[in-house]
């Protein structure tokens, strides 16, 4: 069934973008207890930077992706070092400060790039046939990139010393520090990486979603839903959550367009009721 195949691909490719976006949120929440609501704005900045790099400056695409990721990582790090660092465990203040950052980042982006949304036509162009329809290559490439990054980050977390420190920090911060490990530096690295991956999501996602100034909020909402459904602190959770949400979105909009969003929120609430920590949260 062509419809099912295409809808699945739609859901998984969109979900992959959400997955990459949510990794950063999930890890920093699990590791640092920090909720960075400006994460969506980082995605947006990276999308615009990627557009500038690939369309205006004509750089090759992988370089544009890298630049977008670095831009997001640097902005995120600036927010962390300048602001969030002083607000450890103060959820209220974190929320307000990061909302303030959304306003600031969005307005600065308006200043730099003007108000028009951009949809870059660079990257993985071309389509291939599925049944009677054609399907964009970049969406399939997004699935591939997402999977590669999933395994890479999982390897990083499970098989390297760095990853072990991160996991230890998430499970028992005091003991980790007590063992003499420099958790601080590892935390910032993890934070930077989370934002970097979100930036990659922004540039790659721009191929299908474009880059516009409303993304600071709109993509954040989706990331929060994925975070809730998947569970904080685990990569597998972020992947599962994003697949669930992406698929619901794809099938929902195609079959019951009026109620698609409604179903997404109902699913989110049910999961929260049944398993509040999310489907695959990290058990501390």
């Amino acid at each position: 069934m062509e419809f099912v195949a295409i809808s699945l691909l739609n859901g998984i490719s969109f979900g992959m973008v959400l997955f990459l976006l949510t990794i950063g949120l999930s890890i920093t929440l699990g590791l640092m207890g920090t909720l960075n609501l400006a994460h969506g704005a980082l995605f947006m900045v990276a999308a615009f930077v990627g557009w500038t790099a690939s369309v205006k400056l004509g750089l090759n695409y992988p370089l544009a992706v890298l630049l977008g990721g670095i831009a997001a990582g640097l902005v995120g790090l600036a927010i962390e070092r300048g602001l969030l660092r002083h607000l450890y465990k103060q959820l209220n203040e974190q929320v307000v400060v990061t909302i303030g950052c959304i306003y600031i980042i969005t307005n600065l982006s308006l200043w730099v790039w003007g108000g028009a949304g951009r949809t870059p036509f660079t990257g993985f162009t071309g389509s291939f046939p599925i049944g009677g329809m054609m399907y964009p290559a970049h969406r399939v490439a997004t699935i591939g990139i997402g999977l590669i990054l999933f395994f890479a980050i999982r390897w990083l977390l499970e098989k390297t010393r760095l990853g072990a420190i991160v996991r230890a920090g998430m499970d028992d911060k005091e003991t980790t520090i007590g063992l003499g490990i420099n958790l601080g530096r590892v935390t910032y690295l993890a934070f930077f990486l989370g934002c970097f991956v979100a930036g990659i999501a922004g540039v790659i996602g721009a191929q299908m979603l474009g880059a516009n100034l409303a993304m600071g909020w709109s993509i954040l909402l989706l990331a929060l839903i994925v975070l809730v459904v998947g569970g904080a602190g685990s990569i597998q959770g972020a992947l599962l959550g994003s697949m669930v949400i992406g698929t619901i979105n794809a099938f929902g909009i195609a079959l019951v367009p009026d109620f698609a969003r409604f179903f997404m929120y109902v699913v989110m609430i049910i999961i929260l009721m049944v398993k509040p920590t999310g489907l695959l949260a990290r058990k501390a």
Binding site: G114, T119, F121, A254
Partner: protein, 406 residues
């Protein structure tokens, strides 16, 4: 002590804001000639901010053309922001302009929600209000209100395109994709109507929220037809066009843009020359081959260093309307005099002649079917068909699924 300083600073900021906004009225300077004040609510922040910036440019250009002076009185332009989708802010902006600055003419908000949010206030205050752009919607016009939309309506475009699609392009079936708000209903509805009246049938109407960015699911269920007409909001139109191409519909089910809206020539260029052949309907393109337009484009480019884009021309047309109102009202610029000067008047613009039928609230305006073509190595919009004076359009609402077959 640092905290105390900051508290005092904040208190001072708050007091200063209040003071400046007129809590303690400053003494009015005695001026020999009282200036004419014009207020504009443009969306300067938010995701349609480039449109607001363009409107502002067009307005300033239009007033600079008369050296910011009409009948010996200087013109002053005040611009407020409404953050695109924030009706509360639009209403506050209207209040600020009318009550703080005391404007004589208001240039209305751009986004439909803001427009509808300020409607009752404008009628109560009886401030002549011009639109800044062609309207995506209009309520049924029962008597001349104070909200004049003299730039034409989206429905005029949709209808013309629908007729053209059947009669000239030879399409017999069509689907539509509209944004799920007033502008979308007008656009998709009018296209369907024009297409039907010419003899065709619309077999599917799709709707998406105005800020939708993920088009995959919609493309998965679009029906096979000869063509698809789309009216989407701002930047989402771009990703829709891109997805249409990538999902392989471009050749077998040509896309028609009910209004080019935010697809500028630079965007066609950025997409690539596969966009050749894209049709749309609108009242203006920079390549319009009239002496008036050539002069306009040249002057505009001289002043701003870039060619005018859609929001610029509509801002300019608004300025022309404002000038007509002010010149027609003469020395006595009351709201009734301004309104009388506007109703049933015609202006000459780079678009051509535009006539506003004030008693009934519609506008006769030239309409062009345009096509994306590569000229001299660059993508441009070219006129392929001209309708010199398109008249009144109907008011369309969103029809429940299944009732648009006739």
């Amino acid at each position: 002590m640092k905290n105390k300083f900051l508290v005092i600073l904040l208190a001072l900021m708050l007091v200063t804001s209040l003071v400046i906004t007129g809590c303690i009225p400053a003494p009015a300077p005695v001026e020999p000639v009282e200036p004419i004040k014009i207020g504009a609510i443009c969306c300067l922040t938010g995701d349609m901010s480039f449109w607001g910036a363009g409107s502002k440019r067009g307005l300033e250009f239009g007033f600079a053309e008369v050296d910011w002076e009409i009948a010996g009185r200087p013109l002053e332009l005040f611009v407020e922001d409404d953050a695109t989708w924030d009706e509360v802010m639009a209403l506050e902006a209207a209040r600020k302009l009318v009550e703080v600055h005391g404007v004589d003419i208001l240039m209305g908000p751009i986004a439909s929600s803001s427009y509808l949010g300020t409607g009752s206030y404008i009628d109560v205050m009886k401030i002549p209000t011009l639109g800044l752009c062609y309207r995506g919607e209009f309520e049924t016009w029962e008597e001349p209100t104070w909200n004049f939309s003299a730039h034409g309506a989206i429905a005029q475009r949709g209808y013309a395109l629908g007729q053209y699609a059947y009669e000239v392009l030879g399409f017999r079936t069509a689907t539509t994709m509209g944004a799920d708000y007033e502008t979308g209903y007008q656009g998709a509805g009018s296209f369907s109507d024009g297409f039907y009246d010419a003899g065709g049938s619309v077999i599917q109407q799709q709707w998406a929220p105005p800020t939708e960015i993920e088009w995959g699911p919609y493309n998965a269920v679009v029906e096979d037809a000869d063509c698809t007409a789309v009216i989407q909001y701002g930047s989402c139109m771009h990703s829709y066009i891109k997805s249409w191409y990538e999902f392989g519909f471009w050749d077998k089910q040509p896309l028609l843009l009910i209004t080019p809206c935010t697809v500028f020539e630079s965007d066609l260029e950025a997409f690539g020359d596969w966009t050749t052949g894209l049709y749309s309907a609108t009242s203006y393109v920079t390549t319009l081959d009239t002496p008036a337009n050539q002069k306009f484009v040249a002057d505009f480019e001289a002043m701003y260093g870039q060619k005018p884009i859609f929001p610029d021309i509509w801002g300019y047309v608004s300025a022309l309307w404002a000038r007509t109102m002010l010149e027609g009202a003469g020395d006595d610029i009351t709201n009734y005099a301004l309104r009388d000067a506007l109703l049933d008047s015609t202006i000459e613009t780079p678009i051509g002649p535009i006539t506003f039928h004030g008693d009934e609230g519609w506008t006769t305006i030239p309409m062009y079917i345009i096509q994306a073509q590569q000229v001299g190595g660059e993508m441009t919009w070219q006129v392929v068909e001209a309708y010199p004076a398109v008249g009144k359009a109907k008011y369309y609402t969103k029809m429940p699924p299944g009732t648009w077959t006739r």
